[in-house]
């Protein structure tokens, strides 16, 4: 008697499986489908179709009844996600609630997640920078982690490839520490940002730079992006809602629809990957065990190639949970390092100031990016009392002030007739952290989630290097601010827990030696070479760059390798 609920093994066998439909998973899917492989993408959350499933994207500000504030009972029940800058009334439906997906904080760590088609590519800040050899050489030169098995030359063509399709706006700045790319026209810097840039270039003899940020927004070449069904960025700065124009890059607007068009993509939602199946005789992975998020039923899917793109820590979790006789400590984990040497970007330090110049000028509009200060510390040699360094965002806008002192007609008049104040300037620090064995993620021994999968235990802390770097950031930016004539300079250290950078990485690090790393130069698990890891989990060091661009490049490059390798 046929059971129509259970597909045959044949129906559940594909040419490739991709775990996760986010930033890097979407790219793996697109590349695999473009190359003709029948690809199954397993997404643990619900579907979010471009445009159709952006419920708030057309709302005016007053249509949010709390004017974008999150109600107190939600904040109280979900303190972790409530600390995320983008968790507001207009985008909260794309973020994971603490109550829905608990995890174990051995030390305080704010783990920010998005479980739906597109993952965090829906809500990301769209900042993109290339790595250079000054970054790849970091661990080897400075004696931490392990040597990257690749250099810039290996990934440069893939940066080209990704940037073209994604649509990256930026200026050709000619900096060795931040390679130029395939750029659409840059966004505009404000007068005071330009002023700051000039002062900094002059004072530091062109050794430090303030540039317009490179960002994943379409600012030109309209006809090319129209083929993806995407249009030019309209400067709404409401990206976290999902963009009806497809003006910024997300899986939802770009790679997933493209993959669907090939006819080779099967996207399954509510599909939580429990573990990867390892066949001891074939000595390779053969598929995945999936738990239906809604029915809790277990089902298996099979493929000769598996891409794990579940997001850095979720990828660690899946591999740790993929136990077999061959791999009792998790898939590929012969050396016991799986889950270890995780790291992040420290985001505690800020600085603000004012400027009494350009008083006849003002800035207006909602630019969806900012200016950017590439790392300038320890670039060519070790120079400070801390290793590595920090990049920083920078922005300057004309303040508007209103006198709110009075009541009645006077107050009303003042509110409707504000005046221009000074220019306000601000910067926040994005610091490289050193991966170490004592920072790790692991399966919790006791707690399981709703689907019987062990909860992730996170044990990550700041170290002395971070503290020294934060001190240096405050000192250096103060000096730079003073040189530019900024006043009322204030420095801040939020002392927040790690995690709100949303750049957690590592645990399945790349390396040349299987004794000290988990994946090879092609992102394959050393010990199970038909499994590829191309999301944040593969990162050997963090450098200072916003990492998504690099994850996408790894994914495309690894798919290319996987497909060529299988034909060999």
């Amino acid at each position: 008697m046929p059971n129509f609920n259970i597909d045959s093994i044949e129906d559940r066998t594909f040419d490739a499986i991709v775990i996760g439909s986010g930033m890097s998973g979407g790219w793996a899917a697109k590349e695999l489908c473009d190359k003709g492989l029948k690809t199954l993408v397993l997404e643990r959350g619900r579907d979010v179709k471009h445009n159709q499933d952006y419920p708030t994207t057309h709302k005016m500000p007053w249509e949010f009844e709390h004017l974008n504030q999150i109600p107190e009972d939600i904040q109280k029940a979900n303190p972790v996600i409530s600390r995320c800058y983008a968790f507001r009334e207009d985008a909260k439906h794309f973020f994971v609630l603490d109550t829905e997906h608990p995890y174990v904080q051995e030390k305080p760590f704010d783990w920010i997640r998005g479980y739906q088609t597109g993952g965090k590519s829906l809500m990301w800040a769209r900042h993109t920078q290339r790595w250079s050899n000054l970054d790849f050489e970091g661990p080897d030169r400075d004696g931490f982690a392990v040597d990257w098995p690749i250099r810039y030359e290996d990934i440069a063509p893939w940066y080209d490839y990704i940037e073209k399709f994604v649509g990256i706006s930026g200026n050709m700045d000619g900096l060795e520490e931040l390679p130029d790319g395939v750029f659409l026209p840059p966004m505009e810097m404000s007068c005071v940002e330009n002023h700051f840039s000039d002062v900094v270039a002059q004072k530091y003899n062109k050794q430090r730079h303030v540039i317009i940020a490179r960002c994943a927004h379409i600012t030109g070449n309209y006809e090319y992006y129209a083929k993806q069904g995407r249009a030019m960025c309209q400067s709404r700065n409401l990206c976290q809602r999902g963009c009806p124009f497809g003006g910024y890059f997300s899986s939802n607007s770009s790679t997933i629809p493209w993959a669907l068009k090939t006819g080779n993509l099967t996207l399954k939602n509510h599909a939580i990957v429990h573990s990867i199946i390892y066949d001891e005789q074939k000595q390779m992975a053969t598929g995945v065990v999936v738990i239906d998020a809604q029915t809790k039923e277990s089902i298996e899917y099979y493929a000769p190639v598996i891409f794990v793109n579940a997001a850095a820590f979720n990828t660690n979790l899946i591999l740790l949970n993929s136990k077999s006789n061959r791999f009792p400590n998790g898939l590929g984990n012969d050396n016991g390092l799986l889950g270890k040497y995780v790291a992040f970007h420290h985001y505690r330090a800020r600085i603000s100031g004012e400027y009494e110049g350009f008083m006849d000028k003002y800035s207006w509009g909602r630019r969806p990016t900012s200016s950017y200060i590439p790392r300038f510390r320890n670039l060519y040699k070790q120079e400070t009392d801390f290793l590595r360094g920090y990049a920083a965002g920078f922005g300057a806008s004309r303040a508007i002030e209103m006198d709110t002192d009075g009541f009645g007609a006077e107050l009303k008049e003042n509110l409707l007739n504000p005046k221009y104040g000074l220019w306000r300037v601000g910067s926040h620090c994005m610091g490289e952290t050193i991966p170490k064995e004592s920072n790790y993620v692991a399966l919790d021994e006791n707690k399981v989630d709703e689907w019987g999968i062990p909860q992730l235990k996170i044990s990550i802390d700041y170290d002395d290097n971070d503290e020294k770097m934060i001190k240096d950031y405050h000192e250096q930016l103060t000096e730079m601010f003073e040189a530019a004539g900024f006043t009322n300079i204030k420095t801040y250290d939020s002392h927040q827990a790690p995690g709100l950078d949303i750049h957690e990485m590592g645990g399945v690090r790349m390396g040349k030696d299987p004794k000290t790393s988990l994946v090879d130069k092609w992102n394959r698990l050393h010990a199970c070479q038909n499994v590829y890891v191309t999301d944040g989990a593969c990162m050997t060091s963090t450098s200072t760059q916003n990492p998504s661009l690099t994850y996408m490049a790894f994914a495309a490059r690894a798919v290319d390798h996987a497909v060529k390798n299988s034909k060999a």
Partner: protein, 219 residues
């Protein structure tokens, strides 16, 4: 009774009986609003009337509609109900009660029955009284700022116990805070006076100020 004690503390000579006006039947909309808020916060009709008239006093009607005409009191109650932590909510409601009682005591009529000029002077009188003031930060920029902590935009400092004047000022300042925000972000202001463009199309980083033009905070 609690109210008599607190009035003594403010230093008002208690002149007579507290006078409660008869409750008129509220209009249908008010009934509905009270019903909604009574999901969590128990709001009496005269408390609702007080806040509505306070909101109207703060930003009165004129050629341009005032805050009450734009239903900003609804936003005030929604924020008090949904977004204030319990302790802050308690302080707000205490302050509301204290203020209501204080005005009734002083003027022998509830706040919402006084004339506009008198209502205004009630506000400034209360706000100008000396005491260790509670701190309510009225943000100079009403824009949401990116930051690691998604706190509400105030952090009241602790009040000494029995500081009823402090609670009243807190209530007045908080209401003013929400009223100004609700007014500036109302549909009327954001379409007719300071238009907000959902699709601006561009950003300008260095435009020359035209002094003859009004500033649009939503541009």
């Amino acid at each position: 009774m609690h109210r008599r004690a607190l009035l003594k503390n403010i230093g008002i000579v208690s002149a007579g009986i507290l006078f409660f006006p008869g409750c008129d039947a509220p209009p249908e909309e008010q009934k509905k609003m009270v019903a909604k808020i009574q999901d969590k916060l128990q709001v009496k009709e005269e408390e609702q009337a007080l806040v509505k008239s306070l909101v109207s006093t703060l930003i009165p009607n004129g050629e341009i509609p005032g805050a009450a005409e734009l239903d900003v009191d609804r936003y005030v109650w929604l924020m008090v109900d949904d977004c204030l932590p319990k302790d802050t909510q308690k302080r707000y409601m205490n302050g509301l009660e204290n203020f209501g009682a204080y005005i009734e005591e002083k003027h022998l009529a509830p706040f919402y029955d006084l004339g506009p000029a008198q209502q205004l002077s009630c506000l400034s009188d209360t706000m100008n009284q000396e005491e260790p003031a509670s701190v309510v930060i009225i943000p100079s920029s009403l824009a949401n700022t990116r930051g690691p902590v998604n706190r509400p935009f105030w952090e009241p400092e602790p009040l000494a116990p029995g500081n009823y004047l402090g609670e009243m000022k807190f209530f007045l300042n908080m209401t003013k805070n929400f009223t100004t925000r609700g007014f500036l972000y109302s549909e009327y202001v954001m379409t007719k006076l300071m238009p907000y463009q959902l699709v601006p199309g561009k950003y300008n980083g260095c435009d020359t100020i035209d002094p003859s033009k009004k500033i649009n905070i939503h541009a």
